[in-house]
Amino acid sequence: MQKSDLKKITDYLWEIPKNRWDKMNVPARVYADEKLLEKVFEDRSMGQLVNVATLPGIQKWALAMPDIHEGYGFPIGGVAAFDLEGIVSPGGVGYDINCGVRLLRSQITFDEIKDQIVSLMNQSQRDVPSGLGSRHKEKLSDPELNKILDNGAKELVGKGIGNQNDLDHCEENGSMKDADSGKVSDRAKNRGRNELGTLGSGNHFLEIQRVDQIYDEEVAKAFGIFKNQVTIMIHCGSRGLGHQVATDYIRELLKLVQRENIWLADRELVYAPIESKEGQNYLSAMRASANFAWANRHMIAHLVHGAWKRILGDTAGSLDLVYDVAHNIAKIEEHEIEGQTKKVCVHRKGATRAFGPGREELHSDYCHIGQPVIIPGTMGTASYILVGTNEAMKQTFGSVCHGAGRTMSRKKAKRAVDIGKLRREFEKKGIILRVASRGELGEEAPVAYKDIDNVVNVVHEAGLARKVARLRPLGVIKG
């Protein structure tokens, strides 16, 4: 596939028409400017997007955000909605169910704690297990784990960990309805039993940041954000538990598809009708995994809060949740399709919900203004807070990008990056690094990713979400 196969809709939107392949049920659309579009053709992600457009019951378009890159089955940065007579695809959610981002705001500025950032980093690293195989010593019993799976972060708040604000300012209030721990295998539970409150590895991180630029004063104020404020960002997901749930259901659904001889453009696009027993079982288990991920980020935030108090004392005030968003999830939502409000199953795989003002899913603190959209940058680069718009509701089922998006393989990045030079660059910028291994540092170096400023600008210019504030890293703990 090449650029000439695409029709330009606007400066930031391109389309592969439905008639390009007779198996496509809808056109495929990608949000990108000319520069990012060049990157899109460096891998096979557009072919994967076209494959998504072949799935039964898909509505309007198969969509790709500007951070699109090659995955398996669905591309990463992909969004697709299916009518309720249509399908649900575990591959459209991915293996790290409800991988997502949580942003905490402090009440103080960088200048007030700049001499204590190192101590805060060290304490956070001690308190939050991070890195490969990071686990707590204590294992949750079956009844304890089942309650977390069924109720998510709400279960922890009920035990006095965190507060109501943590639920109000979380997508799905941190507790997705119709989750069923009974649909999660013992194997998945065994993988997650001692992983609640752990960061994991790969691109997951914990970052202490400073608000370095405000783009929209009014919205920033509504989100409790001000210039030079210290914020904390947590990026992780449902750990081994979610990976196993995806593995279990993809395997089970693939057997069904093979027995019924159903054509698939890619085996990882395997699906079940939403209303089928298999489809419902997957959705119940996926929601339980999503609840585990919300409880996980909630618990990490609680541990960070402990580190914060220990190092800075009570005078530094509390850390409050701005918002928590999921990146890998399937949800039944209402959207306008051909002039009618319709319930659809929206799959976001490496994409963030970005609801505009007026959506009843949003808490009254944000309903009048739109949802906070948290977009993490790559290690050492800026992250952004945006606000969802009604344009996103019309164009993308209320969705935007989830980060910068990889452009270079981990192997290539390791070869290309001079670790010593990279460390010196971070030091020059005053960023404190805590990374589990040298290899990891190379794999996650900014050069392996697209330019986050460019990606966020496309989302902003396309009107899908508006920039509110930019966050610069002060310290990064990589798993």
Partner: protein, 134 residues
């Protein structure tokens, strides 16, 4: 010739595995996973074997499902499995024993995928391609 090689992929881990026959191919898959997780030779003695049985719809699914089994045990038991013996095998079923040790990992393999892989007979033996989510 090495028993496997890492192929380019923008985000995940794509491996090509070789073997003179199917049992060797499947055991080399176990060793390749161990090598990627650890990236150095492991001193694994066959002191404690674990039995593994997998049944799938076809040969490629059998490879992916076997890999999933190794990943699950590796994560749940916090081990790296580097020894493998195939006891019985057909195109959609296998019985094997594996042995591993508790060791610090350097790569978290989340899952084995069915994406675009294959198992095929080639001159001099068999080869397979499999993509892992990392």
């Amino acid at each position: 010739m090495n028993f496997y090689k890492v192929l380019e992929h923008p985000a995940d881990l794509k491996l090509k595995i070789f073997g003179k026959d199917l049992p060797e191919l499947f055991c080399n898959l176990v060793k390749a996973i161990a090598q990627e997780m650890r990236d150095e030779k492991l001193d694994v003695r066959n002191e404690k074997w674990e039995e593994v049985e997998v049944k799938s719809e076809d040969l490629f699914s059998l490879l992916v499902d076997f890999a999933s089994e190794i990943i699950y045990r590796s994560d749940a038991n916090n081990k790296i499995y580097a020894l493998c013996e195939i006891e019985e095998m057909s195109k959609n079923k296998l019985k094997a024993k594996i042995s591993g040790i508790q060791a610090k990992k350097k790569l978290d393999i989340k899952a084995a995928t069915y994406h675009e892989g294959y198992v095929k007979k080639v001159a001099g033996g068999w080869e397979a391609v499999i993509l892992f989510d990392i």
